[in-house]
């Protein structure tokens, strides 16, 4: 057990308990920016936690970041915390300053490409990126853009480019950004250093979504337990019926699997690529099962807007597709396992430095 992690998570829990009430989540869905919640996260150092101490961060590891995101997922925090942390990692690794304010990242889809062209002393950026979380609200977007086969990290002002607003199933902003020769200064562009790439952004994004989902399954479980103990039918709480108990036990297995998959992927050695795949696949599966069971246990009240179960379940149904759905990651993983061969399957599962696949 890690004391650092316990402290980080409990301060996150305290903060979210006061600043992330259901009304805040509902208001955010109507388009209101949760300024107080965001400020509380900034003040607690959560938005810069992943940065080195010299850059105002806490220098915590990936596992701790994922634990923080799990807490954010438990509370359905309607802010781009994961994206700001990812953007900070990209900028800081590239030697660029990390600006204040909510940040986001692009592209978040595997096959999209932004392209960069030299133009005088600066650069111009072209291309489109869909589903960008808070793409229209973020103070800056941090993106991977390509010159030929070379990747660059670029910082794009929040006002640049065209925004077509869209929302995911949970009402979170997932905007399409179009850059039609947007001018970028030389200080806003850096060659992507080793370890920073669109692939790595996709991997870390998938892990971040897995962590958020694990938290959301925990919350759906907590809702379901409380409801099963409170709701009385046939003269007793429905949680006294074995059929309901069996469903809750199944759900708790899925929640446990989701939490451990995230934790294990965060702790994995090597490239961690296959482990991220494992986590996104397994947590995505758990998300589907847990959401379905939670609604079955809650019956009709659970599908109303008034009950807040949907804060968790609509996010689960959205997040499992973001940064690659289970089928996408299972497809990659399947190919990697085929490459390792029949004799390589077991060694891959037990390798101390992670499942050996090329990053």
């Amino acid at each position: 057990m890690s004391e650092m992690r316990t402290m980080l998570v409990s301060s996150m829990e305290r903060l979210l308990a006061t600043e992330c009430a259901p009304e805040v989540v509902n208001a955010a869905e109507k388009g209101e920016w949760p300024a107080k919640l965001w400020q509380a996260l900034v003040d607690a150092g959560m938005t810069r936690a992943w940065l080195p101490e010299a850059e105002g961060g806490s220098g915590v590891g990936l596992g701790d970041v994922l634990a923080v995101l799990r807490a954010a997922g438990r509370h359905a925090a309607p802010v781009p915390l994961a994206e700001t942390l990812l953007a900070g990692w990209m900028l800081s690794s590239s030697g660029m300053e990390v600006p204040d304010g909510p940040l986001t990242v692009a592209p978040v889809r595997a096959r999209e490409r932004l392209s960069l062209k030299k133009s005088g002393k600066g650069w111009t950026l072209s291309g489109a990126a869909g589903g960008v979380p808070w793409g229209g609200q973020a103070a800056h977007r941090v993106a991977i853009a390509w010159v030929g086969r070379q990747e660059y990290v670029v910082r794009i002002d929040g006002a640049a480019g065209k925004v077509r607003s869209a929302r995911n199933l949970a009402g979170e902003p997932r905007d399409e950004l179009t850059f039609d020769g947007v001018a970028l200064g030389a200080d806003a562009v850096a060659k992507a250093p080793a370890g920073v790439s669109q692939g790595e952004l996709f991997r870390r994004g998938a892990l971040a979504r897995a962590a958020l989902m694990a938290g959301a399954t925990e919350k759906a479980m907590a809702h379901s337990l409380r409801y099963a103990n409170e709701r009385v039918q046939f003269g007793k709480p429905i949680g006294k019926f074995q059929s309901v108990q069996q469903q809750l036990a199944l759900m708790s297995g899925e929640v446990a699997a989701a939490c451990i998959a995230v934790e294990a992927a965060g702790a994995s050695g090597g490239s961690g690529l296959a482990e991220a795949a494992c986590a996104k696949v397994r947590v995505g599966e758990a998300a589907g099962v847990a959401a379905a069971l939670a609604h079955q246990i809650h019956a009709a009240i659970g599908v109303t807007f008034e009950h807040t179960l949907h804060h968790s379940t609509r996010r689960l149904w959205s997040w499992r597709e973001e940064f690659g759905a289970e089928t996408d990651w299972a497809g990659y993983l399947g190919h990697w396992l085929i490459d390792l061969g029949a004799e390589g399957l077991w060694p891959a599962m037990t390798n101390q430095t992670g499942i050996p696949v090329a990053a």
């Binding site: 057990m1 890690s2 004391e3 992690r5 316990t6 998570v9 409990s10 829990e13 596992g63 634990a67 925990e218 337990l225 099963a228 103990n229 949680g239 006294k240 074995q242 309901v244 108990q245 069996q246 809750l248 036990a249 199944l250 708790s252 297995g253 929640v255 446990a256 699997a257 939490c259 451990i260 998959a261 934790e263 294990a264 965060g266 702790a267 482990e275 795949a277 494992c278 986590a279 696949v281 397994r282 599966e285 289970e326 990651w329 299972a330 497809g331 990659y332 993983l333 399947g334 190919h335 396992l337 085929i338 061969g341 029949a342 399957l345 077991w346 599962m349 037990t350 101390q352 499942i355």
Partner: protein
């Protein structure tokens, strides 16, 4: 539950363990090449080979965590975990010693008298003798409180009468740990039980085969008709049987045998997908791989609790419920991807593995506590019962 503790961090197996792992792999490779075994699914149940168990014992891989004075190697819980998972993944025939070493050894170490430990542990560790477990009865399956087999006090010992069923390998084992009534229940259905070691060659013991639907014989019915057992063969305190049995469950339920029983089939899926990498096979392989990877990490996490002397009954139940359902789903997923008209006499290795797995799969979610009972345990821990 450990998995949701906010401070939980993933325990890692120490790097030194890879040396031991390599030794086990080299040994298995050699044995396979020599044809000393053919990989099978469910090998800890269906692969009964005293010779193979003795080969493992000669390398110190049977009862390896036990004290040296009892024939063990005093190696760590995790070294044992590594050896076990390697043997299971290879589908090696470890059934002869598996249950005795998993349950009876730890039981004796924790509750047994010096005399019992001296008498049995060294021979268990050398795979000279094998133990069966006598728990279920015709009227006591999941409901162990209904056990009626009775041990009555007599001069210098006990006289046992009753019947036990589903004891795996009893016809090939030397002894059985019999869970029986030695005193009145009073008001507590868990009270008055004890565990007694019975020599299966004793007068009054009759062992009858219970043939499985696949024709295999590993289950038995064991009948005790005025069987005399010396006093000292009662393990621990008279009347403490229930507590003692519960302490075995963490070991029984969270180990790698709860998700690796079908590993040889998963290896076949890699071959099938390599030959014909259509999207469905590739995705299925990825999904099953992700599930297995997660289950193994859960099992390692529970092992750290066991190693620390805790009894994580609920976490272990979660692993067994998820793990055994994974085993059954794996069979269903693969069969649908590469169907054949199954026959145990088929020429292809894959078809033989599948034919056998289909007929043993129903036991996966039954043995060691049905999954429904495990979920009751989980539900109780959630505060629902």
């Amino acid at each position: 539950m450990i998995f949701q503790d906010p401070g939980f961090t993933m325990p890692e197996l120490a790097p030194e363990l890879q040396t031991l792992r390599a030794e086990v792999r080299a040994f298995l490779k050699k044995e396979l090449a020599q044809g000393s075994f053919v990989p099978v699914c469910n090998s800890w149940m269906e692969g009964f080979s005293p010779e193979f168990s003795r080969k493992l014992a000669a390398r110190g891989w049977v009862g390896m965590t036990w004290p040296k004075r009892y024939g063990g190697q005093e190696r760590s819980f995790f070294e044992n975990f590594v050896v076990n998972e390697e043997l299971l993944a290879a589908g090696a025939p470890v059934g002869a010693h598996w249950v005795g070493v998993r349950q009876t050894g730890p039981l004796l170490l924790r509750f047994g008298s010096d005399r019992l430990k001296d008498e049995f542990l060294p021979r268990l560790a050398s795979a000279e003798i094998f133990f069966a477990i006598g728990m279920s009865e015709p009227d006591a399956g999941s409901d162990l409180g209904q056990v009626r087999t009775q041990a009555r006090r007599t001069d210098g010992g006990w006289v046992i009468n009753g019947r036990k069923i589903w004891s795996s390998g009893a016809h090939r084992c030397d002894h059985m740990v019999v869970f029986c009534r030695t005193g009145d229940a009073g008001g507590d259905r868990r009270a008055g039980f004890s565990q007694i070691i019975v020599d299966l060659k004793s007068k009054g013991v009759t062992i009858r085969p219970i043939i499985m639907m696949n024709g295999a014989h590993h289950f038995n019915e064991t009948i005790f008709d005025d069987v005399f057992v010396p006093e000292y063969r009662l393990v621990g305190e008279p009347g403490n049987g229930w507590t003692q049995v519960l302490s075995e469950l963490g070991y029984e339920r969270s180990g790698p045998e709860r998700f690796l029983s079908i590993f040889p089939l998963l290896v076949e899926l890699v071959r099938l997908a390599a030959r014909d990498p259509d999207a469905r096979k590739v995705i299925a392989l990825g999904q099953l791989g992700a599930r297995l990877w997660t289950l193994r990490r859960m099992s390692v996490a529970v092992a750290t609790l066991l190693a620390a002397g805790q009894s994580p009954e609920v976490d272990a139940s979660l692993v067994k419920d998820l793990g055994t359902r994974f085993e059954r789903e794996t069979i269903e997923i693969i069969r649908a991807l590469a169907p054949a008209e199954w026959s145990a006499g088929a020429p292809s290795e894959y078809e033989v593995l599948m034919a056998k797995a289909l007929l043993s799969a129903p036991t996966f979610t039954l043995r060691g506590g049905t999954n429904e009972i495990l979920r009751n345990i989980i539900a109780r821990s959630l505060g629902l019962r």
